[in-house]
């Protein structure tokens, strides 16, 4: 008898326990009766009541959830193929509708794949490369190595001066996704869509790298040529300066010498003019001394003034 009583009491406790459930702050739930949802979604956290055994509780996330797309290659309006990688954040806004149409997060993710990818594709194919990459119309400072233009296909001015529309594109995608989700009434609310990466495919990337390399090589060559040019310029200046200095010194030295010669001439003239006749005599004697050297052959007559005393 006591045994039955204790079994009943244990069963009673279990039934009581089965009629309460806890929803925490991260969760929301739907109450079902044999698989059929009853009442509205349960959003508030706390202790809740249900009919034991008959009703089942299915819990869902209340928090913002992740969605990460795979990179899609999409042609732009100006016919360039680019890889667009987007991510989104969404949440279950109505657990009841969500339970009815999507059942679980996995299925919801794949529905979102279709909706978001479609919206992204629509938007991107309607925009130019410049609009997608840039977000404002601010003027960029671009170093162009050769102003004479080198216009490769992916490098024309139209793109460089493009008005960016990245933010518009994001907003437009978001509102498209939002509209679509409202229309489908899946109990899903899109919180945000962002373009994570915009990139070229491998092939275009390689071409771009080659272009960047050739551009850099051109710049390098320019520097080298400029260096050589500058060197020649300095050399030219050097020669000019050299000549300037040497000829200047020559000019000055000639002036100095000329002045000295003039001075000397003046000194001589001043003195010799006191007796030109004697100077003439003296100078002639001096020249005799120099010109009548030891090899001279003298034939002297005794009536010479010098030898006159020999004649006796």
């Amino acid at each position: 008898m006591k045994n039955y009583l204790s079994i009943i009491s244990v069963a009673f406790v279990l039934i009581i326990m089965n009629s309460f459930f806890i929803i925490n702050e991260k969760e929301q739930a739907v109450k079902t009766e044999f698989g059929k949802p009853v009442g509205g979604p349960i959003v508030d956290a706390g202790l809740h009541f249900k009919l034991p055994l008959i009703q089942t509780i299915i819990k869902f996330e209340k928090r913002v959830l992740e969605w990460d797309g795979i990179a899609n290659e999409i042609p732009t309006k100006d016919n360039k193929y680019i890889l667009i990688d987007t991510f989104a954040r969404w949440k279950i806004s109505n657990a009841l509708e969500f339970y009815k149409s999507a059942k679980n997060e996995m299925l919801a993710q794949s529905r979102l794949d279709d909706i978001i990818d479609g919206a992204v594709r629509d938007e991107i194919s309607n925009r130019t490369m410049g609009e997608i990459v840039r977000s404002t119309d601010r003027k960029m400072e671009i170093y162009i190595s050769d102003s004479e233009g080198e216009n490769s296909e992916a490098y024309d001015n139209e793109e460089l001066n493009a008005t960016g529309a990245r933010i518009d594109i994001i907003n437009s995608i978001l509102s498209k996704v939002d509209d679509k989700l409202l229309e489908l009434n899946m109990g899903i609310e899109i919180v945000d869509v962002q373009i994570k990466r915009v990139s070229y495919n491998k092939q275009v990337q390689t071409k771009l790298f080659n272009r960047m390399v050739s551009e850099q090589n051109m710049i390098a060559e320019k520097y080298r040529a400029q260096g050589q040019g500058k060197k020649q310029e300095i050399l030219g200046k050097q020669i000019q300066k050299e000549k300037e200095i040497v000829s200047g010194a020559y000019l000055k030295s000639q002036e100095i010498k000329g002045k000295a010669d003039a001075e000397a001439t003046e000194i001589y003239a001043n003195t010799y003019s006191k007796s030109p006749e004697f100077y003439n005599y003296l100078k002639t004697l001096e020249t005799y001394k120099k010109t009548l050297d030891p090899s001279t052959f003298f034939i002297l007559s005794t009536d010479n003034k010098y030898l006159k005393f020999l004649e006796n």
Binding site: E66, R134, M212, K231, S253, A260
Partner: protein, 326 residues
Amino acid sequence: MANDFNLGDFKINMQNSPLKHLKGYAGFIIAALFLMTSIYTVDANQNAVVLRFGKYIGTKGPGLQFKLPFIDTVEKVRVDYQYKQEFGFRTLRPGVKTQYSTRGYENESWMLTGDLKIAEVKWVVQYKIKDAKDYLFNVKNVENTIFDVSEAAVRLMIGDRSFTEVLQAERESVAIEARKYMQQLLDEYKSGVSIQLVQLQGVVPPEPVADSFNEVNRAKQEQETLINEAKQAYNQKIFLVEGQAEKIITEANGYAIERTNEAKGDVALFESILSEYNKAPQITKDRLYIEMMEEVLSNNKNKIIVDKDIENLVPFLNQKLNGAIK
């Protein structure tokens, strides 16, 4: 019977059980268990979020805290901690000489610039949890969300700047604006996270083109070297030439001094002889003449003195002269 415990089909006879001795302490043990589950500590940099039956009832700061046992649950969050995420590289082993791994993160670090080139950007994000409740209850997997948002934000900013700007002048503003944009999105999600810092660690040309950029730097160096060498040669040569010019001028000055001194000397000599001459003109003239003759004739071997009356001297002289010349 009072000594038996009924637990479903199990019947425990307390009299035979070793638990019998514990019976007296049961109340005490229950009280101890009760106390243990109602006391918890919150560390210095933590906040504790308290839930009652799953419902948020408050956030507790550091220290010894109480809760209702079994009914209240507690989740602790490190709020005063700087969390860090790395983009384009990963720290392998932090330390004095921190090791990084940079290979294989090109997907993260290579990004299009506004002029449609590719720059390699590595950066870190530091963040704090500013609201433990928001952090726990509003966004699932906040770390992934921060990562995604950071990639989108930095790429957005890089995409609006030219390659040259990104590498040089605009680095700072990219970081500042990316931080602002990230915070804006994370606040929209009510993530409870505060972005403390976005810092660009390295903005460089990607590895496949890096060499050509180094080449430009080398060319720049070469250019400078060429110019410096030319300038050096210029200076050397000019200094030398200036010295030579100085020499030419000094020599001219020497010549000038010599020339005038000689003139003065010559003149002084002449004047002294002239004064003698003026005193006795004929005698001086004779003396000078005789002195000249003495000097000239004393050095000379070829002298023939002929009497004024001798005739037919020429044939003899011819012979003599020929002999002398031979």
